[in-house]
Point group: C2
Chain length 337, copies 2
Amino acid sequence: MRARTLEELANLTGVSRSTVSRVINGGPVSEATRSRVMEVLAHVRYRPNLAARRLASGRSGVVGLVMHVPAANLFTDSYFSLLLEGITETLASEATGVMLWLSHRTKEETLDQVLSSSFIDGVIATATMLDDPLVDGLLASDLPAVLIGHRRHDLSASYVDIDNEAASEVIVEHLLSLGARRIGHITGTRNTVSAEDRIAGYERALERAGNPHRLMADGDYTEEAGYEAAFTLLDRGVDAIFAASDRSAVGVYRAIEARELRIPEDVMVTGFDDLAFAATLDPPLTTVRQNIRSQGEAAARALLGLLHQDGTGPRRVLLPTELVVRRSTSGGVAHNT
Amino acid sequence: MRARTLEELANLTGVSRSTVSRVINGGPVSEATRSRVMEVLAHVRYRPNLAARRLASGRSGVVGLVMHVPAANLFTDSYFSLLLEGITETLASEATGVMLWLSHRTKEETLDQVLSSSFIDGVIATATMLDDPLVDGLLASDLPAVLIGHRRHDLSASYVDIDNEAASEVIVEHLLSLGARRIGHITGTRNTVSAEDRIAGYERALERAGNPHRLMADGDYTEEAGYEAAFTLLDRGVDAIFAASDRSAVGVYRAIEARELRIPEDVMVTGFDDLAFAATLDPPLTTVRQNIRSQGEAAARALLGLLHQDGTGPRRVLLPTELVVRRSTSGGVAHNT
DNA sequence: TTGTACGCGTTATCAT
DNA sequence: ATGATAACGCGTACAA
């Protein structure tokens, strides 16, 4: 026995369509009729038509998730899968569906698809680049949106991020406290918010310490770029290298080994992320721990908050990071930001 | 200037709502009015409301994609990302949207979400297990569905797959032709269609050759299981090992090295999949090439076919595989199935 | 060729 | 507390 529509359900129970709708949505119904309808609902397999619900009420209980990455990266880069886990887990616990858009073709096309779909109540989008037409378009639309990643200039956007600049400062201060004086920085992908903010933190820490040496080489978060950039920095004479990601720190390790130098005796090294392998490198890598899964959870919760009680302003969440000191800088304690 | 509904568009152009709808959907309209409406359409940013369209016509232009994979496999397995690429690329080229469900919680919950969503015109689902309530539920629903993976017993389902049994036979025949007599097989995950079919092919080839030795050890497609199973087979005395996946073949390589045996002189080894690394192993691995991306493309095309011209029966696609002979079996030529 | 009118399944407003 | 009834935006018979 199955009922496809409220109308059928109404015939089955002997009450009107509206009453059945009230029972399902928790409206004011007498206890007697409520239990009678519930009785029938337990026996038939009724699934409300979300398209109709969306059309009538403007709500569907489904949110969009836009991660403009090639499908390959979704699976190889643990960043996206961890985000995905945190987001979907949190949304599922609130009985909220997820519609996922990956990079099909251009960002404009993706934007168009998302805005056209008309069944989502809100959207979560990854925002890594400083300028991103996809993100701009989402923010310009009237769709409630939460970004993962900061948009520094835009004060009206809701977002979840870590304080890259502060975390970066803590790293550099840690190196300074251990006696490093010529600290090199291998940047992340330029024009991403995270890379630029980490650079800013690096510079601010040095400035505050009155240290004149700005020793930077551009990277792109990959191991290979870290390897290349490390040689540049080593040639300029550094006693410490702060790599913008753990993966690029691995490249630094290889470069230092190639030069037959020792970590940390000749050159101290730090990463950023605290991915699983960081603790098992030789020597174990000092780095900044950011909990990516929590960022996904926080983004989901922020969007749910935005949807449930609209009228409040944008939601901004800065999640804490933690300096994890290991042997690559020969230390032992941990600091929080 | 923007128009949110057909009604607004109608006011803007001076024709009726239905005429605008006809222009958009390619109905019978005079060339004069068509161009007039198109003129306006070019200036305003109109996005049809898919929820309303779906409700009115039963079609939304969005299909669902269900890949119920544990999050862990998401990272390690390029299988899913390759499928995803093929599917989304093909659908995008037909202006069809994709709604993606990954493994959130139980299969029953996922099934419920998919069937409840009411937005999608059809669904593509990965079907690896012999018994899968999610797949059963999808097939039992009236939603047009295409499976990736075979359902041997179910003749009414549409699917895309490779002929695992035939490919497996070709591998074993190849080993036999090179003089192997005690051929071991490390299975894939039991109760998956692919694993059971590859076992069937292994057994059929041996039977046909009148070879009495059935030497099998259970694996689960992973390198680690391959490593363990290889020792079992080596202890039973084999001169060739057919691993059900390239990854498990890597485990076999390690086990053979641990026993200080040589490939292929002491033991020949084959894999299955022809992942990128297979050619760079030492020695390069003989294996079966299956084009996973094409499977995704074929599934998307099959579903589109199902949607556009309903009335025809189920679509069944068996994609070709190719035996790639490399030095792990000391050969040189290639065979097709 | 074009416009009118109805229906898709639901929620929300209004009487009762 | 309950039941008509009007939207929501669109597609599409049907009539003109």
